[in-house]
Amino acid sequence: MKVKKWKLAVFLLPCLLLFALIYLIPLCMVFGSSFFEWRSGGVFRFVGLGNYMQAFLHDTRMHAAIVNTIIWVLLQSIVHVGIGTVIAFMLSRKLRGWKVLRTIYMIPNVISAAALGVIFLNVFNPKYGLINSAISQITGSAFEKNWFFEQSSAFMTVTWSWLLYTGMIIILVLAGILAIPGDLVEAARIDGASEMEINFKVRLPLIRTILGTSVILAATSMLREFELIYLTTNGGPGETTLNLPLYLYKTSMTDNNYGYANMMGVVLILAGILTVYAINRLFRMNEADY
């Protein structure tokens, strides 16, 4: 049945209007105001590419935020997705208790970031935290490392608060593995392939698009990561754990420099588009295998 175009338009209109009001118009405002010096107190003047020049040529804090963001995107895309994939493959063997384990891995994903921040601050507390207490018990001497606030360990400790919690990746990859037609695996088995070879040469290539989706989710989550850093280190010590979203927030809310903050917003949006495009190309997301 052929649907008339005007009817399609009428049904799409509510969604398009909402999109325009909530995303499109603010996006245009963010993009436009990134070329202005816009501060509290009524300061609003056109500066062209001034904000961008300042950010990329002179602002060392911006450079640190970009580097940290890139490192976290890479770690999340490779290590986080890698760990989740390995666990998903282990669970796909459906050994005893696999459903319980799958649920356990999801628990950190259902706890709010605010609660997680408080939990991690307590776990890594130098005075009474679980980690230091355990080390003190094992070594028999007082251990009071300040994990979140020593420059040598802050980045790693913040990274720990999300890197290992791969519940979402496990669910996605596991669903992909379980959806692989049994006859393909059976054929490989008849051809004499070992279980390891089947995993690497049959299952893994066949879940390529699922892996791509997982990497997109993981990478873009790091372009949006804010709460856990804000609640634990607030970007410190110094700039050790500063990332772009947090720097944007601080520039807007404490520097009251809205134009510069919106420039960062534009950088983040472009970084997101570029990341998604690159991952789509890398994983050939628009090609189906079966």
Partner: protein
């Protein structure tokens, strides 16, 4: 029929979406009719952080009930609860950027006047000589810019430090130090007695720590002038760098292991549990000394008050209520509400309930806890009266303190670099 239903559904969805975006609820701009007498009830929007565990929450609830009893048939206060003063300040900034500040604002001392005064009401025409008495000259001065009044004071800052008399006695200390050299000698005595001398923090602007920092800066005339300067931009001067060097020493030698990264709550908890001997803070903390869910029975009797060495006390005005009403009728109602919360009776109840010192001179009460009177007496006797950094420094400088303190504590930066970092951030404004 199906087509008609589908079209109607699409229409309803669209209208729903639009009405959700454009709806107004309880707008302060549109006075509504109400009340039994048929008189016009003007609505006033007042977001507040005096909620939940805030020490001011009981006072606010009491005063709001009293206001409603007196003015409830004419003015309706729309209270929006926002937990945490920092969240409150952030929300005000968002509302400012969209030109939609509420009618009445109270930040609890954070200075939003300088960044938002273009949207605040200048109050000079609404303050008569009689009402002027709710605050001392310095209290009004802190709330004014270039002779224009942007805030109505209701309280003032009087801050020194508290010490544990038992722990002092254990270390052989008989009275608080009068000079900073003596103070550090006492810290060494406490350490020698196995007692951690100081409660400190770094998170949320490192309130407790920064009070010590400001007190050290303010012990000279020029330092005192700096600590009373609005929005300073240059922190590279000897008094400040020397004070930062002392703070570095305090972090490295005289405080608990959870000070770096810890918030006020950690610092207070260490003092309550008698793990530290000294904490800098204001008299609003006194009510906690009697709260047996926080401290051992009789703890308050073991606490003494002191002014900072060099005769320094935080003793100054504090940012009060700001008003941003946009029409005369709402402005009048907002002024009635704010003046009610700032009047003599409200200030007296605040002193009794929270321990906050009134901005009006001469308010006393027999219900006030003795330690609060000691703090007031210390403030009156101080040789150098300074204002607190949260009221006067740029918000981004206050935030920068939190992320530079850990580096300072670990010796990753020098006091000079700390001062430069604050100056660099202040220059961004």
């Amino acid at each position: 029929m199906k087509k008609l239903l589908a079209m109607a559904l699409a229409g309803v969805l669209m209208l729903g979406a639009l009405s959700g975006c454009g709806g107004q609820s309880g707008s302060a701009d549109s006075p509504s009719s109400g009340g039994n007498s048929g008189t016009k009830v003007v609505e006033v929007d007042f977001p507040t952080h005096w909620v939940g565990v805030s020490v001011n929450a009981p006072w606010f609830q009491e005063r709001l009930a009293a206001f409603n009893e007196q003015y409830g048939d004419q003015i309706k206060i729309n209270v929006e609860e926002i937990a945490g003063d920092q969240n409150y300040v952030d929300k005000m900034k968002v509302l400012y950027s969209s030109n939609s500040l509420p009618d009445a604002i109270n930040t609890g001392g954070y200075n939003l006047i300088d960044s938002m005064k273009d949207q605040l009401v200048v109050l000079n025409d609404y303050i008569d000589d009689d009402f002027q008495k709710v605050g001392t000259d310095i209290a009004w001065e802190v709330n004014s810019r270039d002779g224009q009044i942007y805030g109505i004071p209701y309280t003032r800052q009087v801050i020194g430090y508290f010490y544990n008399k038992d722990l002092f006695a254990q270390a052989g200390i008989d009275k608080p130090a009068e000079t900073w050299d003596e103070f550090f000698a006492q810290c060494d005595k406490l350490l020698a007695a196995g007692i951690t001398p100081l409660s400190m923090d770094t998170a949320d602007s490192g309130w407790v720590t920064s009070l010590m920092l400001g007190a050290m800066v303010g012990q000279t005339d020029s330092g005192e002038a700096f600590m009373n300067q609005n929005l300073p931009t240059d922190y590279n001067f000897p008094e400040f760098v020397d004070a930062v060097a002392n703070i570095q020493k305090m972090f490295q030698k005289y405080t608990t292991s959870d000070a770096v990264g810890g918030a006020y709550e950690n610092a207070a908890s260490n003092f309550f549990m008698e793990e530290t001997a000294i904490i800098a803070n204001g008299p609003w903390m006194v009510s906690d000394f009697y709260d047996e869910t926080l401290v051992e029975p009789g703890f308050a009797d073991r606490v003494g008050t002191a002014m900072f060495p060099g005769g320094v006390m935080y003793n100054s005005g504090k940012i009060g209520f700001n008003i941003a009403s946009k029409d005369p009728e709402t402005l009048e109602a907002t002024l009635t509400f704010v003046k009610f919360l700032s009047n003599e009776e409200s200030q007296q109840r605040m002193l009794e309930i929270t321990g906050d010192i009134p901005s009006m001179e001469g308010i006393t009460s027999s219900e006030v806890k003795p330690l609060i009177n000691e703090v007031i007496a210390n403030g009156d006797a101080a040789a150098h009266c300074i204002n607190d950094f949260q009221s006067l420094w740029y918000a981004n400088v206050v935030d920068e303190i939190s992320i530079q303190y850990p580096l300072l504590a670990q010796g990753k930066i020098t006091p000079e670099q700390f001062a430069k970092a604050l100056s660099d951030v202040a220059a961004k404004n």
